[in-house]
Amino acid sequence: MQIRFFVNGKEVELSVSPKRRLLDILREDLDLVGTKEGCGKGECGACTVVMNGLAVNSCLVPAFQLDQCHIFTIEGLRERPWFPLLERAYVDHGAVQCGFCTTGFVMSTAALLANAAPPLSLEQIKWQLAGNICRCTGYAKILAAVMDLSQQQSVVNEIKLDWQSAIGGR
């Protein structure tokens, strides 16, 4: 079937098998390999992308539901003006070890900062990031990075604005 949707702000038109997973379309058809496959059943969060402003598991989105949707992947977030600040927080807190889960965590972090009302407690951040699994860091450093970010009001505001104008899509 023919689908038209937006990936990282650019319109894409593809002829795909209707039950193909968004994850495979991104990695194989569009060569956006920053999105990783972990479990393939919605439990690990490695394949997290943003769909119409919300974090979703791209392994659980079938092609036929993509028509007219707005998808952002890690490659798209990298181009946003606020991204270096998010990246800096992860680096400063040593929140990256092997890196496999990182893109998923970064997507969830950005969506969390964009969608949640501050201030965020550690408990809230844990709950919001529970859909992402990391087998290296023990989470403490990731949580520290996200907590740090959530307390930088200017960064949070910048992300929220960008979400409204570009990333949310509708």
């Binding site: 919605g42 969060g45 859909g131």
Partner: protein, 288 residues
Amino acid sequence: MERIFRPRSLEELDRIIREDSTYLTFVAGATDLMVQRQHWNDALSLVDLTAVQEIREHLEVRDDQVLIGAAVPVSRLIAHPILQQRLPMLIESCRQIGSVQIQNRATLGGNIANASPAGDSLPVLCVLGAELWIGPQKNGQFEISTIEQVMRNPGETSLAGHRYIAFIRIPFPREKNCYWYFRKVGQRKALTISKVSLAVLGWSEDGNVEEIRIAPGSVTPQIRRARATEAVIERQVLTEALIDTACQVLQKEVNPISDIRSNENFRRRVCGELLREALFKLLWEHAR
């Protein structure tokens, strides 16, 4: 060759059902269906309920009830200020469904139609007395049903013959003297499939239980109210001895299985202990 139907309205949806003779598989958020590989691969004609605007978007709050489109993502319910206030137990159970990523896709209609005894929202919808509006419409009317009527067995509903859940109507519980409890026990705190859960909704005054509704999850093949247990407590003064009896009755009333997630004995015992916790909390509230 696979066929995908993406009807834009209820009329179009009902027309497809009337006119198409093949076996149709209804899909909403797809978070359960895509994981059931065989079922997913075998589904040759799919009807996407999220394409139908009324089913995907409708969320109508009134003074005493809410009408929710069956394919509204549960994250929209979780974020809704009035539902947080009037249906806190539904919000709590929705927060326990998968993860944020899943909640952004998963729907109440899907949770019900998937008919898993471990479906997190089901015991809560059951005690709230949720009404299911089943399509296709006949003479402009939906058929009205309940969780207990629709759920036949694990993975099996009464919705054969191309019937689908269009809306879920939930009456708000009377606020005066109302008490609720919901707890899910799993392997871990978040993103876990329930081993056993319990939803309790009741009204009581001065230690006197006027009405109580109890529905356990993951310990019976269908989600049902535990009516024998309810009868023990209803119109009684809550005491420690009565709580003991009620827990024993509930442990007899449920019918858990042993599987990969837990065993029968654990489920039965913990189910009773959840009720003990629920009732002791209620007892303490009265003691205050």
